[in-house]
Symmetry: none
């Protein structure tokens, strides 16, 4: 029943894609561009189906658009121009703006003559960078980069907790460090974490780091967790602590954000 089949196809086409008949090459390419802009990526097969042309046609279209520098053709599809990271000129720190925001919020906890401890990691490093210069502080740290940063602060007395240095995390770890930490008690410690989950608490990739963080928490009256929201609801193998030992959690989100719901009835101050 060829006739019926054709009629049915036309009907389907009209339902799924009303203006198919009038689709010229230019239109089609426009539609492709639109799709790429919208979703940042697109598969050739999807495009072919959606535009109801053969895959070859789509391929040719994408090729042309690529030649015109309107998108980037990749194996199996296309991505928007910004998507492919070719350029070496990238900011060194991931999500720097978020981390700066977190650091600013965290620094409001500081009082004159506070004794604090700043952990390693890029977020904590931002805190070190943004420490207010009008408040006199005594600051312990285990992190080489944080220490470097703190040396630039005239109002901060910096004490480095020594120990074996971990190549990856650039912090002091090991028995030595833990012993030294056992002898101090700071007002606030500001720590980062690799992973955090409302149920499983803070977890890490590295066992040694976990031991050190535990010692840090023990050495603090109050522990403040600095953590960008992307890390929420993730976990790894080694557990640092439960969330109930954390006094304050600082993310880049507003405290009432829905993503923080899981942390709201836990006696944690959200900042």
């Amino acid at each position: 029943m060829k006739v019926n089949g054709i009629i049915w196809n036309c009907f389907l086409l009209l339902i799924l894609n009303p203006n198919k008949n009038l689709m010229l090459k230019e239109e089609r390419q426009h539609a492709i561009l639109n799709e790429v802009e919208l979703h940042n990526r697109v598969l050739l097969t999807d495009l072919a189906e959606k535009l109801d042309v053969s895959i070859d046609t789509v391929r040719r279209d994408v090729k042309e658009l690529d030649a015109e520098n309107l998108l980037t053709k990749v194996h199996g599809g296309a991505v928007s121009l910004g998507f492919v990271n070719h350029s070496p000129a990238r900011s060194n720190v991931y999500a720097l703006d978020k981390k700066v925001g977190i650091a600013k919020k965290a620094s409001t906890l500081l009082r004159n003559n506070s004794v604090i401890l700043i952990d390693g990691g890029t977020t904590c490093l931002e805190l070190a960078r943004l420490l207010p210069t009008n408040i006199k502080l005594t600051c312990f740290t285990l992190s080489l980069p944080v220490a470097m940063e703190l040396l630039g602060k005239p109002n901060v007395e910096t004490i480095f907790i020594g120990g074996t240095l971990s190549r990856d995390s650039q912090i002091a770890v090991g028995a030595n460090t833990i012993n030294a930490l056992a002898q101090i008690k700071v007002d606030y410690s500001f720590i980062g974490t690799g992973y955090v989950d409302a149920e499983f608490g803070l977890t890490e990739f590295d066992w040694e780091v976990v031991q050190t963080k535990k010692a840090v928490i023990n050495a603090s009256k109050k522990t403040v967790l600095l953590c960008i929201s992307e890390k929420l609801n993730s976990q790894h193998r080694f557990k640092t602590c439960d969330l109930n030992v954390i006094s304050t959690m600082v993310t880049e989100l507003e405290p009432w954000d829905k993503k923080l719901d899981a942390f709201k009835n836990m006696n944690i101050q959200l900042l």
Copy 2:
């Protein structure tokens, strides 16, 4: 019923093949990069699981990203650039070539499995930079920049002697540091000095630094002085030690240089 058939087929397709989770290579690499930046360090196995591809694919992706200098591949995983790229950017080190020469000569003293201590200062920093990579070392230090440099050496275990950090010398000083130093004994310590004179010995501008250097010397079986010849025959307020506690003195000069005459009958090895 052709109509029913087609509709049913569509339905089946949707059920059996909901989204196919098809991912473009670029997307996947983007995700990998994101994960690395987020957590600083990831395992290939974790990536493979998370992205639902084989470990081979992840490995190949990471390899490519490494080749593009977007991350650093390590055994079993990847780390973000920030953790290994301490781009030194040492621009204005005075008499750098001389100090490099000194460091090279000093490094000939090293043996496999030596336990050494490297002091602060630009000359010692050059030594840290030029440590041979074929000799396994355990290396103590009080200097932040030296520690940073040592972390880039895969064959060196680095232990930082903690303490209050001195802002201008970027080394740990104070009672804490001296206590910690009292508990170790290294094969060689490599120290710098502000001023040296055949008669008055090693002297410094800073009293705290002197105390620390004394403790360093006590913590060493042999003490090696790294010192550019310009500092010879100069002195300052606070005395670190006499020259007879120095085992080896390394300058950029040849050992038989006339400028070293004053040090030749002092039981000091000249290098």
